[in-house]
C-alpha cells in the first residue's frame, strides 16, 4: 500500500503552479481579458489552482499560432512525426507517477487507475499512432494503360478538439495522437472541471513539439468552446460529451461545411447468460468482476456497464454474489493505492447522481446496495463521494435509460436470447455492451446483434490502442483508438495522371 502525498506537500510527486495561463505557440500566454477561474479538486472539494478563463480572443490567438505551425508540420514526413510521438510516449512513461497524481488530484479518480490505466494507455496510444502513420500507404490504381489514379493522405490543417473531464489526459490523447500523426495543428479545449492535468502534460512534452502544433485554451463552454467549435478557421471539430452539445457542435460544423466526430455517451447493457454460473470457477469469478465494473472510475465512463441483464435462472444467485462483491469495494482517499473508488469529478455531478437515485426510488426500483452520498470524514468530508449503488427494476425506468455517469447500476432480468437482445437494444444509445457466456456461438451472435460500436465478450472496460471505439445510434459519429481515426483527420487528394502523348480528340 502506498499513499501518495498531497500535491504541493513535502514528498509529493507533483507541485501545481498557483496559476495556469493558456498554452499557445509553445509558451504560456495570459488570457486576453485577464480573467481566471478556480480549479477544485474533487478529493477535498477545495480549490488548488487558478486557470485562464479563455474567451474568443484567446481562441483566435491559438488559431493564429496553429495556422502558423500547420503548413510546416503538415509537410513533415510520417517518419519524423512518428519519432515525435514516440518521444512523447517515452516521456509520459518516465513520468507516470507524476502525471497519475496530477490526474487524480484534478479528477478525483483512484490513483491505482491513473497509474495502471490512464497514463500508460496515453503513452501507448501515441505509440500506436506513431506506428499507424508509418504503416499507412496511399493507394493507386491503373485505370487504363496510360492513366493512373494516385491517392494521397493529406492533413486537414488546423483542427479543434473539445475534451471531457472523465479521463482528462487519456481522452485528450485519444484525439491528439491521431490528429498529430496525420500532420494537423490543434487547438484543444479541456473540460472546465479538469483544466490542469493536461497543462501538466503540456509542460512536460511542450518542447518536443514545434511551437503552435498543439495549443491549449481553457475556459467555459459558452466563452471558449463555442468560439472554437463555430470558428471558420478550423477544418474539423472533434467532441466528446453529451447529446445536446453534440448536436450544437454538428450544427456549427454544418455552418462551416466541415466534418465533425462526436462521441456522446451510452447506457451500456452487460448481459450475463445462465451458463456463466454453470460452475463456480475462475470464469464465474471473472464474470462477477465484470458485473462490478459498473463502479470503475466511479461510473464516470461513457461505456460504463450501467445496465446489468441477468438471465432468470441465475438472477437471484448471481445478483446475490455480485452485491456481496460490490459491498467490498474500497472507497477512500484517491491517493491511496488500495482505494478502488475515488471521488465524483464535481459537485454538480454528485448532485445529478443523487437526483437519479431519487427518481429511481420514486419509479419503484428496488435498492439492493448503497443509495447515498458517502462521507469519508477528515479532509475528505467535503469531497464528492457516492456509495456504489445497485437498483433492481425494469428497462423502461429512467434509471435504465439515462446516463447517470456515476456508480449506479440498474439490474433487470431476461428470459431468453431474444429477450436479452430486445432489452439491450431498447435504448437511444449504442456505445458499449458486454456479453458473458461460456457458449462461443451465443456470445458471438449476441455481440453481432447488439446495436453498439464496442461489444466486450467475456471481458469489459478494456481500451487497448488498436481496437476501434465509437458509437451507433445517438452515441455519436466516428471511431477512435484505431487507424480508422487517421481518416477523420485527413483529406484525400486524388491525382489523376495521364501518361499518354495523345490528345483526347474532342476538340
Amino acid at each position: 500500500m502506498t499513499v501518495y502525498s498531497v500535491p504541493g506537500t513535502p514528498g509529493s510527486k507533483v507541485t501545481f503552479k498557483s496559476r495556469y495561463e493558456n498554452w499557445i505557440g509553445g509558451e504560456w500566454v495570459a488570457p486576453v481579458k485577464g480573467q481566471y477561474f478556480e480549479d477544485i479538486t474533487p478529493v477535498t472539494g477545495k480549490p488548488f489552482a487558478e486557470v485562464a478563463r479563455g474567451t474568443a480572443e484567446d481562441i483566435e490567438l491559438a488559431l493564429d499560432a496553429a495556422h502558423k505551425a500547420a503548413p510546416a508540420w503538415g509537410k513533415t514526413s510520417p517518419t519524423e512525426r512518428a519519432a515525435v510521438l514516440n518521444k512523447i510516449a517515452d516521456l509520459i512513461d518516465a513520468n507516470t507517477e507524476m502525471l497519475a497524481v496530477a490526474e487524480t488530484w484534478d479528477n478525483g479518480k483512484a490513483v491505482r487507475e491513473t497509474i495502471n490505466a490512464d497514463i500508460p494507455l496515453a503513452a501507448d496510444h501515441f505509440r500506436y499512432f506513431a506506428s499507424a502513420i508509418r504503416a499507412q500507404d496511399g493507394d493507386h490504381a491503373q485505370l487504363d494503360g496510360d492513366t493512373v489514379s494516385y491517392q494521397f493522405h493529406e492533413p486537414l490543417g488546423v483542427v479543434g478538439q473539445i475534451i471531457p473531464w472523465n479521463f482528462p489526459i487519456l481522452m485528450a490523447v485519444w484525439k491528439l495522437a491521431p490528429a498529430l500523426a496525420a500532420g494537423n495543428a490543434i487547438v484543444l479545449k479541456p473540460a472546465e472541471q479538469t483544466p490542469v492535468s493536461i497543462l501538466v502534460l503540456m509542460e512536460l512534452i511542450g518542447d518536443i513539439l514545434p511551437p503552435g502544433v498543439v495549443n491549449v485554451v481553457n475556459g467555459f463552454g459558452l466563452e471558449a468552446g463555442k468560439p472554437l467549435a463555430s470558428s471558420n478557421r478550423i477544418r474539423k471539430i472533434a467532441f466528446t460529451g453529451e447529446t445536446t452539445t453534440g448536436r450544437l457542435i454538428l450544427q456549427y460544423a454544418s455552418a462551416n461545411i466541415i466534418p465533425s466526430t462526436v462521441e456522446l455517451g451510452g447506457k451500456s447493457p452487460n448481459i450475463f447468460f445462465s451458463d456463466v454460473a454453470q460452475e463456480k470457477d475462475a470464469f464465474y469469478d471473472k464474470a462477477q468482476e465484470g458485473f462490478v465494473l459498473f463502479a470503475f472510475n466511479q461510473g464516470e465512463v461513457c461505456t460504463a456497464p450501467s445496465r446489468a441483464l441477468l438471465q432468470k435462472p441465475i438472477y437471484d444467485s448471481f445478483l446475490g454474489d455480485a452485491v456481496t462483491r460490490a459491498k467490498k469495494i474500497i472507497q477512500g482517499n484517491p491517493l491511496d493505492t488500495d482505494t478502488q473508488m475515488g471521488a465524483q469529478a464535481s459537485n454538480d455531478q454528485l448532485e445529478k447522481i443523487l437526483s437519479y437515485i431519487d427518481i429511481g426510488t420514486k419509479e419503484g426500483a428496488k435498492l439492493a446496495l448503497g443509495g447515498e452520498r458517502a462521507d469519508l470524514g477528515g479532509d475528505l468530508t467535503d469531497g464528492y463521494y457516492v456509495q456504489p449503488t445497485i437498483f433492481e427494476g425494469h428497462n423502461k425506468m429512467r434509471l435504465f435509460q439515462e446516463e447517470i455517469f456515476g456508480p449506479v447500476l440498474a439490474v433487470t432480468s431476461f428470459t431468453d436470447y431474444d429477450d436479452a437482445i430486445s432489452i439491450a437494444n431498447d435504448t437511444i444509445y449504442g456505445l458499449g455492451a458486454g456479453v458473458w457466456s461460456r457458449n462461443g456461438n451465443v456470445a458471438y451472435r449476441a455481440g453481432r446483434d447488439i446495436q453498439a460500436g464496442r461489444v466486450w465478450v467475456n471481458n469489459y472496460h478494456a481500451y487497448p490502442a488498436g481496437a476501434a471505439f465509437g458509437g451507433y445510434k445517438s452515441s455519436g459519429i466516428g471511431r477512435e483508438n484505431n487507424k480508422l481515426a487517421l481518416g477523420h483527420y485527413q483529406q484525400t487528394k486524388n491525382l489523376l495522371v495521364s501518361y499518354s502523348e495523345n490528345k483526347l480528340g474532342f476538340f
Binding site: I40, R53, P164, W165, N166, A191, E192, Q193, F220, G221, L222, G225, K226, T240, G241, E242, T243, T244, T245, R247, L248, Q251, E263, L264, G265, G266, C302, K312, S346, N347, D348, Q349, E351, K352, S355, D358, I359, K362, E363, G364, K366, E392, G393, H394, N395, K396, M397, R398, Q401, E402, E403, I404, F405, V411, T412, S413, D419, I423, Y429, S474
Partner: protein, 163 residues
C-alpha cells in the same frame, strides 16, 4: 417580495397538465442571465459527462426540429411586465423515456456544463423529477418487470388522466 416558482404552460397538443417548473432560485438565475444575454431557451441533454442536464442557450442558438418536443413554455416576466417566454425542449427519442415524469429545474453549485450559459456563474441547472400521476409510467413487458412486480410496495400502478 420573494421569487415564486414558475410553472410552464402546456405546449404539447392534447395535453392539459404542465410538465416542467422552475424553482425560485432557478427563476432568479434565469432573470439575471436574461439581462446579460437576452432571450433564452432550454434543451435537455442526455448522455456522457455533462449529460442529463438542461442546457441553457440564447433563444434560437440551438436549432430544434421535428425530432424535438417542446415540453412547455415559461414566462420569466415579473407580474405585469412584458412577456419573457422561455421554451423547454427535449429530443423526441429521449422524451419517449421521460414522458411519465414531471421535471423541476433547480440550481446547484457546479462547474461546467457544455455550452450552457450559467456555467461561468459557478452554478449549474439540475433536473429533479417526480412521477406524473396523470401519465402511464411505463409500458414495460411483463417479463422484464418481474423483479419489480414481486415487490408489492412498488407504486407503479398506471393512472391515466380522466381529463
Amino acid at each position: 417580495m420573494s421569487t415564486p416558482t414558475i410553472t410552464a404552460s402546456v405546449t404539447i397538443a392534447g395535453e392539459t397538465v404542465p410538465r416542467v417548473e422552475l424553482t425560485p432560485v432557478a427563476v432568479d438565475l434565469l432573470r439575471s442571465l436574461w439581462e446579460e444575454h437576452g432571450p433564452l431557451m432550454f434543451h435537455q441533454s442526455g448522455g456522457c459527462c455533462d449529460g442529463s442536464s438542461p442546457m441553457l442557450f440564447m433563444a434560437g442558438e440551438f436549432i430544434t426540429s421535428d425530432q424535438d418536443v417542446r415540453l412547455g413554455q415559461f414566462d420569466l416576466a415579473p407580474a405585469g411586465g412584458p412577456a419573457q417566454p422561455l421554451d423547454f425542449w427535449m429530443s423526441a427519442e429521449q422524451f419517449n423515456y421521460w414522458s411519465h415524469t414531471f421535471l423541476t429545474v433547480d440550481v446547484v453549485p457546479g462547474r461546467g456544463s457544455g455550452f450552457s450559459a450559467e456555467a461561468p456563474r459557478g452554478v449549474r441547472f439540475l433536473i429533479r423529477s417526480k412521477l406524473m400521476t396523470t401519465m402511464t409510467p411505463f409500458a414495460a413487458p411483463a417479463d422484464s418487470a418481474e423483479t419489480v412486480e414481486a415487490d408489492a410496495a412498488v407504486p407503479l400502478a398506471p393512472a391515466r388522466s380522466p381529463a
